[in-house]
């Protein structure tokens, strides 16, 4: 039978905010692979690393202008345009997990608030979805030991989004930098300490070369998700089934990313501990308490903005309604782990 002449695929340009060697570039590739496969080759995504077309922090402007059709990033990277941006990932922690907060986006009214912020309030031509619910992010990397709030005072510390406001109110001086610039900034002395996100990404850019103390557990970014951005025209010009593939591909990639993160993050944490000479500890309780207090002190000032206030209220309500179920219902997994693998949980 004569071959059916295949139509040339539609090509979308998608840039990430990550450097090519970061594990998150693979996570973005997981999404791309799923979309291409589901579309039967009708849709192709040209995936580019940060800086290929525009800088990491410029992707929101670039997608809005149509310089890029799509971007793979996090919302905290454009919170200079509106602080409420940070609520879609790097927001106050009310006790709900990352998965629960992804639920807020899809079931608790978050998506509509996101649309209102980007399209109505800021007038941007973008469509956004949240994906992969990240594991809570470590407090990060320090040159020496830190035991108390007093120890971290005056540090130049790297984080992003509202976490920056949080640590500033705790007496740190905060700088926001894209992931690829963290280690050079440590070497230059622009910053003294930093967090990025997870053992694999941190290892990939060489955190262990510039600091040896890694603190797990923190409330500064306990429930972040990837942000998938699409230029409105690039998206709406597609057939409805392709739009659906782009949209639900985000959900599919969340499972793929979670599975891969499980395997890789844990292996890389082991590597950091055993091979790279990194001392891994849990963040001291005093600092964790101070973080929660800092969140509640920070909010009233930010809530002077009407949208910010509505958005936080919606998150707070969602957390109150759902998180108790997860918390009350979950068995103590540590107990079982300790039973079968005794002694491994000690830090």
């Amino acid at each position: 039978a004569p071959a059916v002449l295949a139509q040339a695929p539609i090509v979308l340009k998608m840039q990430t905010s990550w450097s090519a060697s970061n594990i998150w570039q693979e996570f973005a590739q997981d999404y791309v692979n799923r979309v291409e496969e589901m579309s039967g080759g009708r849709l192709k995504i040209d995936l580019l690393p940060a800086g290929a077309v525009v800088a990491a922090f410029q992707v929101m402007d670039a997608v809005n202008d149509g310089i890029l059709d799509a971007a793979h990033s996090v919302s905290a990277y454009w919170y200079g345009k509106n602080k409420a941006a940070s609520l879609f990932g790097t927001g106050p922690v009310f006790g709900a997990s990352s998965t629960a907060m992804l639920g807020w986006f899809y079931e608790g009214g978050g998506a509509e608030l996101y649309r209102e912020l980007t399209q109505d309030i800021m007038g941007l031509d973008v469509i956004g979805f949240l994906g992969f619910p990240m594991f809570a992010q470590p407090f990060g990397w320090f040159k020496g030991e830190v035991n108390s709030v007093a120890d971290i005072e005056g540090f130049k510390y790297r984080t992003v989004g509202l976490a920056a406001d949080l640590f500033q109110s705790m007496g740190m001086s905060v700088a926001q930098l894209p992931g690829g610039e963290i280690v050079p900034a440590m070497e230059r002395g622009v910053i003294d300490a930093f967090e990025f996100n997870n053992p694999s990404s941190d290892k990939d850019f060489g955190a262990q070369d510039v600091a040896k103390n890694y603190y797990l557990s923190s409330y500064h970014q306990a429930a972040e998700q990837f942000e998938f951005l699409f230029n409105r025209f690039s998206f709406e010009d597609l057939d409805p089934d392709l739009q659906a593939i782009l949209k639900y591909g985000v959900e599919a990639s969340a499972t793929a990313n979670t599975s891969k993160a499980m395997r890789r993050y844990s292996a890389d944490l082991q590597w950091l501990q055993n091979e790279a000479g990194v001392t891994v500890r849990r963040t001291p309780k005093e600092i964790l308490d101070a973080q929660i207090n800092a969140w509640s002190e920070l909010l009233p000032g930010l809530e002077e903005d009407d949208f910010f206030k509505r958005c936080v209220a919606s998150q707070r309500e969602w957390a109150e309604q759902v998180a108790f179920y997860e918390l009350m219902n979950a068995p103590d997994y540590a107990l079982a782990y300790e039973h079968f693998f005794p002694g491994k949980l000690k830090l």
Binding site: F57, D61, N64, Y77, W78, Y79, G80, K81, N82, I121, M122, G123, E153, G154, K156, V160, A164, D165, Q168, S173, V174, A175, Q176, L177, V190
Partner: protein, 194 residues
């Protein structure tokens, strides 16, 4: 035409030089940050933002001044061998097709970019200090306008050079040490061989 050339040269020089003084502010401001950060252990939240805003403003606003004084580097190892008339013919064409489209984009697309930033009162994402950057994005438009005006003057220079085979130089008030010394040396040599 010469009147306009002089006007544009002066305009570009005025803005370029006025913003050049940011280098003093930058030295002192960054010096202050060094003091409070390393001596008093209380770094400012704004020093980083302020230093790149000053650096960016300085070089953008100096672009037209540099153009008027022939300071943008050229791959001129052939160009320098040509007669001024030939140089001017090539330059004239390239100003029209190379220079103006981009500079016009700086003004128009830059306007769109800056206006959006004003609309949401954009602040620097680098620190939580909330240092505004909409005015900084507006510098793109201002630099574009200066370059556009200077570009018209450069086109006029080309037209005059095509007619007279001689370039109209901008009035100079500062020289690189090497240019000054070479100028003095060649004058001294001329004087000794009248």
């Amino acid at each position: 035409m010469i009147g306009f050339i002089r006007f544009a040269d002066n305009l570009s020089a005025w803005f370029g030089k006025a913003f050049a003084w940011l280098i003093i502010l930058m030295s002192v401001g960054t010096g202050y940050e060094v003091f409070v950060r390393y001596v008093l252990n209380s770094p400012t939240a704004w020093a980083l933002d302020v230093s790149f805003i000053m650096y960016g403003t300085l070089f953008m606003m100096g672009g037209a001044y540099t153009l008027s004084r022939g300071g943008h580097v050229r791959g001129d190892f052939l160009y320098r061998l040509w007669k001024p008339r030939t140089q001017a013919k090539v330059d004239l064409v390239l100003y029209l097709i190379f220079f103006f489209p981009g500079v016009t984009a700086l003004i128009l697309a830059g306007w769109k970019y800056a206006a959006r930033s004003w609309q949401y009162g954009e602040v620097s994402v680098n620190s939580p200090a909330g240092v505004p950057i909409y005015q900084f994005k507006t510098v793109i438009v201002a630099a574009g306008i200066l370059l556009f005006i200077q570009g018209i003057a450069q086109v006029m220079r080309c037209i005059i050079a095509i007619r007279t085979n001689k370039w109209i130089e901008a009035e100079e008030d500062v020289f690189e040490t090497e240019d000054l010394l070479m100028e003095q040396a060649s004058r001294a040599e001329k004087d000794s061989h009248p």
